[in-house]
Amino acid sequence: MWFNRGLNREKISLVINYVLLSIIAIFWLSPFTWLILTSIDPHGTSAFKLPENTTLEHYFLVFAGSSSARWVLNSVLISAGSATMVLAVIIFAAYPFSRMQFRGKNVILWGLVLIRIIPLSAFLLPLFLFCVRFGLLNPMGVIVALSMLNIPFGLLLIKNFYDTIPLTYEEAAWVDGAGIMKTIFKVLLPIAAPGAVVVWFMTFTGAWNEFMLPFVLLRNPDFWPMSVGLYNSFGLHGSVNFGFLSAFSIVYAVPSVLVFFLLRKNLVSGLSGAGIKG
């Protein structure tokens, strides 16, 4: 009827919305269903099929297998190492950037934004040559390289946090006889703690997901993190153990997914605030 044509149009567009969204959701989720089903199927293959019986043996093997357990450990060490090193450098360095006026400060800050958006593959060869020159073709080299790449983002974020803290807080601390170290640890850091947490976890997941850098720098399987271990397990050998690798993939993916949902609120504002203000 002519008088509720508008209403119908609204309904039709809602239905179209639902249909398209559902197609997208199904398409987006379908690879996962294979991954999850295969990880609990004792005879999993690359084909999609419902398992006849289920097992958690593959998950057990991830932590019990000598090389895979080692890769898990390496991933934890590399990621936690880079995250801690980045944080240790920037909680101090961000302070002068926030409070001091010096020549070239803005140029440096814009330069940091530039380093942050340039893709890693442009830095790969330079970092490789650096690690060869200084004997760093080991997990330590990966930690140093990842720290170099993540310091710019962390510094910008923590500086923004410091900028919001009124100077009077520091003046009060100064009057009470606190030195700079004490002021940073007792006054600024407690306020900037959410930012520090975001930087730590962002660097952690970035390093955790990273493939290219450890792939190039680490040739010894004992040094590999999970990304390189996973690649070499499905890339090289003729017979691929799909069940085990699916379980391995899920174990590998869990921290990245978890961190995002735990920090989601802070992350989105932190990510989109990549630019510098004032």
């Binding site: 398409f27 690879p31 101090f92 060869l125 720290s147 170099m148 590998y252 995002f260």
Partner: protein
């Protein structure tokens, strides 16, 4: 800065930071130097590299492999980043903005999961998903499409779709956050004027979001331009050179063929191209900040 506090400790605090950043920049200039030599990873040229001038760069612009990789990179970046991620991300943000849509968290998580996965997990998963016996063929079967191994028959299209699958969530998050900043009154006014959903999109949302959209297109283009892991994990650049984007070519020249000098030249040209795009990005950032203020 508190008046009267000594600046010396502050300068000490900056030293480790400058050490890291200076080292990174130094490395890039070092690579620039090496790109003018015939340095190799093995053999005589590894110990005593010779200066060869612009030979590596001349080889670059005449070599079919490099020209092919540029073509593949442009196709990959344009279709997966600009057409795929940005447009799909925008449409999803607009569609999920609709208050009448229920189950929003489920749609959101479906898109986000792919983005959150480590690259190698996505590569492994897609390798099996798009294989001949894989789940993709099960999904496509009702449409009358015969099962094939998508990675060997349609490699470039498959990695493009995999990258759209992987990366759309970023654009979605950014656009959804930007849509929240548009005042409700504008949409209400459009409703009063009898605008349809499409008209609201084209006459209200897009004009207001235009700066954000442009900046995001540049950012996603820059990232996709240098993307390595997902493509390398899925196809290794093959079959042949069909999915060999520039970062994979650089990797292969430097680490499979051991031509460090030539690889450096590719690396430097990549940096220059990305730097060039970044200029537009900065310009756009400045412009959006002007608009916001």
């Amino acid at each position: 800065m508190v008046v009267g506090v000594s600046k010396r400790p502050l300068i000490v605090m900056l030293i480790p930071f400058f050490l890291f950043v200076a080292l990174l920049i130094l490395c890039v200039f070092w690579t620039l130097g090496i790109s003018f030599t015939d340095k190799a990873l093995l053999g005589l040229a590894a110990i005593h590299p010779k200066f060869v001038g612009f030979k590596n760069y001349l080889r670059l612009i005449t070599h079919p492999d490099f020209l092919n990789s540029m073509k593949v990179t442009v196709i990959f970046t344009f279709s997966s980043a600009i057409v795929g991620q940005c447009i799909l991300g925008l449409l999803l943000a607009v569609a999920l903005k609709n208050k009448k849509i229920r189950l929003k968290p489920i749609y959101e998580i479906a898109i986000l999961l792919g983005w959150l996965l480590p690259d190698m997990v996505a590569a492994f998963m897609w390798g099996a998903f798009a294989s001949g016996s894989g789940f993709l063929n099960v999904v496509l079967a009702p449409l009358g499409i015969k099962p094939v191994n998508w990675i060997t028959t349609k490699p470039l299209i498959t990695v493009i779709i995999a990258n759209i699958w992987k990366g759309t969530a970023w654009s979605y998050l950014l656009f959804a956050a930007a849509l929240d900043t548009i005042p409700r009154e504008l949409f209400e006014a459009a409703d009063v004027d009898g605008a349809s959903a499409l008209q609201r999109l084209f006459y209200v949302s897009i004009p207001i979001l235009l700066p954000t959209i442009l900046v995001n297109i540049l950012l996603v283009t820059i990232w996709t331009f240098g993307y390595f892991s997902l493509i390398y994990g899925m196809t290794g650049g093959g079959p042949g050179h069909s999915t060999e984007v520039i970062s994979i070519l650089m990797y292969k020249e430097a680490f499979d063929s051991f031509h460090i000098g030539y690889g450096s030249a590719i690396s430097i040209s990549m940096t220059i191209m990305v730097g060039f795009m970044s200029i537009f990005y900065f310009w756009g950032q400045r412009r959006t900040e002007d608009v916001v203020q």
